[in-house]
């Protein structure tokens, strides 16, 4: 495992992209086939079958470290990573690692079928042999989740450098439903005509946010506009008489959206659509709020009642494959024309709808349309260049998000809690309140939006201005006002304040604003009335 640990350290310790890519490319060039195959797998979120439950892992680690379980759990909540917490609490290793990455994985696979006693003995002996990063990696093989600052994009670039193959082709090869147990380095990366799995998706094309107004984009005739829906991005694949639904995070979500199965009745085989999954009952003029969709996302199986209350449709806006042909190099306007033809005769009960394009002549027209996005339950607009191909990954130039400005409210910080992991020694999670007469009523939490320097400053302040402690939570002197930005507001019975905000974050620390000038509960109610 030494060589992989070295690679891991180089990547983990560096903040420089070229250092990471160079290290990875060197590894891909000459590491053993099974090791490099597993490296791709691990860095793209795949892992061996879980040989041990995390509950057992915690118990054994606490036992081995001679600490009570509650203390282990407290430590975990501060460190923020189970694999790391385990490797930190254990005593130093007393012997040496002798296996490669894939040998360790094979050994894990072998104990998978054994009884608990054997598994425990295996894990304890691994902890004894492995120290430092190697021990951490071993734990990660069990718990999963190698977050090491290597994006799919960087990994593809490194692979391209090591194999001399085009990045776009490699990006596509790495998509989808493969697992190192069922393939080889050669089949996945090298083989000329990789037999394509029917479920394999295309890499998503992602847009950047527009920095200023759309006027800078030039002639409006070159552009097309659509609503930017507040749902989840999805790719619907119809091949071999089957359907597959992929999320942008490359998660196969087919089982969660059984209503999309009927798409095979309405669209021909060999079709791949890019679009937005939305809850949209057929008798409603607009899609439901994101909250309704949330009730569906979390569920792997869907009860009948929910299926009828919160039916999901795909709002299609792009056509990636048609009659089995990859269409991504065809200009957007032509792809769109094919898509419209395919969708024009769909009946209202079809689980696929065409996401309409918006008519506009000038950028001012479009700005006026954008101002009404909230009424259409949209987050803003998407702008796409008419002659653009479908690229992969986040690229500037051809696609832009033109989102609405967020809603904002000025609120008072009243509770602070320290973060975990990256933010272990900083106060980063705050509760905010608005005035109701002379009382401060909490209504939201937020933990992002400030710079590290601001978090350090507020942390020093919290330490000195704590009124009361409730476990990890500190009640602080009401003093600081923050401008809280959010994307939407909803009545909620689950929150004491009666409202739930969508994606709240700290937009600005209003050090210029006196406490008394923070907003009121009445202001919040007014926002709810207008936008709720």
């Amino acid at each position: 495992m030494k060589r992989f640990a070295q690679l891991f350290n180089t990547i983990d310790q560096s903040t420089k992209t070229n250092v990471k890519v160079a290290a990875l490319a060197a590894y891909f060039q000459d590491a053993p086939d099974t090791d490099r195959l597993w490296t791709i797998a691990l860095f793209s979120g795949r892992r061996p079958k879980r040989a041990v439950t995390t509950t057992k892992l915690r118990e054994w680690a606490a036992e081995r470290a001679n600490i009570p379980l509650w203390l282990f759990e407290e430590s975990y909540s501060i460190v923020g990573d189970l694999a790391e917490t385990i490797s930190l609490v254990l005593p130093p290793n007393s012997s040496q690692d002798t296996r490669t990455l894939s040998e360790w994985i094979a050994a894990l696979r072998e104990v998978y079928t054994q009884d608990e006693e054997t598994r425990k003995a295996f894990v304890l002996s691994a902890w004894k042999q492995l120290g430092g990063t190697e021990r951490f990696i071993f734990n990660k093989l069990i718990t999963g989740g190698f977050r090491v600052g290597i994006s799919q994009k960087l990994m593809t670039r490194a692979l391209a450098r090591a194999t001399q193959k085009p990045e776009a082709e490699l990006a596509h090869r790495l998509m989808g439903n493969w697992h190192p147990d069922d393939t080889t380095w050669h089949a996945l990366v090298i083989a000329e005509d990789a037999s394509v799995d029917a479920s394999r998706p295309y890499p998503f094309y992602l847009a950047y946010g527009l920095e200023d107004t759309a006027h800078a984009l030039g002639d409006t005739a070159d552009w097309r506009a659509e609503w930017k829906w507040d749902g989840i991005r999805g790719q619907l694949i119809l091949r071999d008489g089957q359907y597959f639904v992929w999320s942008r995070g490359e998660e196969l979500m087919t089982d969660r959206f059984p209503e999309l199965a009927r798409a095979v009745d309405y669209l021909p085989d060999g079709t791949v659509l890019d679009g937005e999954l939305l809850v949209w009952p057929s008798d409603q003029p607009n899609p439901s709020s994101f909250n309704a969709l949330q009730s569906r996302i979390g569920r792997k199986t869907v009860p009948k009642k929910l299926l009828s209350e919160a039916p999901v449709v795909l709002h299609a806006y792009d056509l990636l494959e048609w009659q089995g042909q990859d269409m991504r190099d065809t200009p957007f306007a032509a792809r769109r024309a094919l898509l419209e033809n395919a969708c024009v005769n769909l009946p209202p009960e079809a689980p696929v709808r065409l996401s309409p394009q918006l008519d506009f002549t000038t950028w001012d027209d479009l700005a006026a349309i954008r101002a009404n996005a909230r009424a259409a339950q949209a987050e803003g607009l998407m702008l796409k260049r008419a002659d653009s191909p479908y690229l992969s990954g986040r690229k500037k130039g051809d696609w832009w998000k033109w989102k609405l400005d967020p809603l904002t409210i000025d609120a008072v910080m009243i509770y602070a809690q320290s973060g975990s992991g990256r933010r272990a020694n900083l106060f980063t999670d705050f509760t905010f309140a608005v005035w109701n007469g002379n009382d401060l009523v909490p209504f939201t939490k937020a933990y992002s939006g400030l710079t590290d320097a601001e978090f350090r400053q507020i942390t020093a302040w919290v330490r000195k201005n704590t009124l009361e402690k409730f476990g990890p939570v500190r009640k602080v002197t009401p003093h600081h006002v923050f401008e809280i930005a959010f994307e939407g507001i909803q009545r909620s019975t689950r929150h004491k304040s009666g409202v739930a905000l969508r994606f709240p974050r700290m937009l600005r620390w209003r050090q210029d604003k006196p406490l008394q000038e923070a907003n009121t509960l009445a202001d919040l109610e007014e926002l709810l009335r207008i936008y709720g």
Binding site: E84, V89, F136, G421, R422, A424
Partner: protein, 337 residues
């Protein structure tokens, strides 16, 4: 006065009624006994200061014109109705635990401490007492310090590697204590050792009191980085990545702190490397120090106070959390050190 505890925790800091003095107060008071020179313990504005002879030069350098008196380690001084003595805390050169005895009842305020010998500070000396005030900066079982020699090897390997690549190695560490400890760990055969002005001022104060440190070159405005290839630069963490450091051209940065044990913190600081080395006690160090005092009553100040005192209570001590303005080891605020 029999019902009054020997030491109590007030909004000015730790107070001794029998002797009418404070230990490391954070607001101006008449009489202050100071455990060590870090700015969250030795603050400005006290009427009179009392600290070890070894701590005074740096305190005078930092606090300017103060009325201060020195005391030797182990020397007993009668203050009001108390017997007071200072004992090595092993935290930084000159740092002390303060022992206060009233009518046979002994309290020890340990300030910041570590139990391992760093080769520079006067080694920690456990003091038997009834009541012990402890820090808990690293009071979690995830903190275990490796021995100093292996950390020294890690740092020197990194430095040699930077030098071989034609890069300047920047090592961020507190100006008082940590920087000098690191100095003694560096291998001068690798290249020249440069220091930031703030670090060098403290070096000089220590050299003046007879502490032996390796030769260093001050990296002030006149210095031409090109004249010192393969150098390592010791600087306060805040100076890393500043305009001053940029003029050194290609470089790598590293931080030396106990917090570097946590990968997330290491990544947040976005240095190239993090070396796990602290002047505070690790988990085992805290527990062994507490056991050796034989105290039954433990007062836990800064750090993971709630968790650490819960652990002590379950294991037979009578522990409580006391309020504090001490910072412990902070990665983010140089002033507190």
């Amino acid at each position: 006065m029999s019902n009054q505890p020997v030491l109590s925790f007030t909004e000015n800091g730790i107070y001794c009624a029998a002797g009418d003095f404070y230990i490391d107060p954070w607001r101006p008071v008449d009489r202050a006994l100071i455990t060590h020179g870090h700015s969250d313990h030795a603050r400005w504005g006290m009427g009179r200061y009392l600290a070890t002879h070894a701590a005074l030069p740096v305190m005078r350098h930092r606090l300017g014109d103060i009325t201060a008196e020195g005391i030797a380690y182990g020397e007993t001084r009668r203050i009001g109705g108390t017997d007071v003595s200072f004992h090595p805390a092993g935290h930084v050169p000159g740092s002390a635990q303060i022992r206060v005895e009233v009518d046979g009842e002994i309290w020890v305020a340990s300030g910041d401490y570590k139990v391992v010998d760093d080769g520079l500070s006067e080694p920690f000396n456990p003091i038997k007492c009834h009541h012990f005030i402890t820090e808990s900066t690293f009071g979690l079982p995830v903190f275990h310090w490796a021995d100093q020699a292996s950390i020294a090897a890690e740092i020197n390997d990194w430095w040699a590697d930077c030098a071989a690549q034609g890069k300047t190695a920047f090592l961020g560490a507190y100006a008082l204590g940590k920087a000098q400890r690191l100095l003694t760990m560096l291998d001068p055969d690798i290249g020249p050792i440069l220091t930031h002005t703030a670090t060098e001022n403290t070096n000089q104060a220590m050299r003046d009191q007879g502490i032996s440190l390796p030769d260093t070159i001050i990296a002030n405005a006149d210095l031409k980085p090109k004249d010192h290839p393969g150098a390592i630069v010791l600087a306060p963490p805040s100076a890393l990545g500043s305009a001053w450091s940029k003029k050194f051209g290609p470089q790598e940065t590293a931080f030396a702190s106990g917090w570097m044990a946590i990968r997330g913190v290491r990544r947040r600081r976005a240095g190239d490397r993090g070396f796990v080395i602290s002047d505070h006690a690790d988990w085992d160090g805290l527990l062994s120090a507490i056991k050796e005092t034989e105290a039954e009553n433990i007062y836990v100040t800064h750090g993971y106070t709630d968790i650490f005192s819960r652990y002590l209570n379950i294991n037979g001590w009578n522990a409580q959390v006391v309020p504090t303005q001490f910072e412990g080891e902070s990665l983010d605020k140089d002033a507190s050190e």
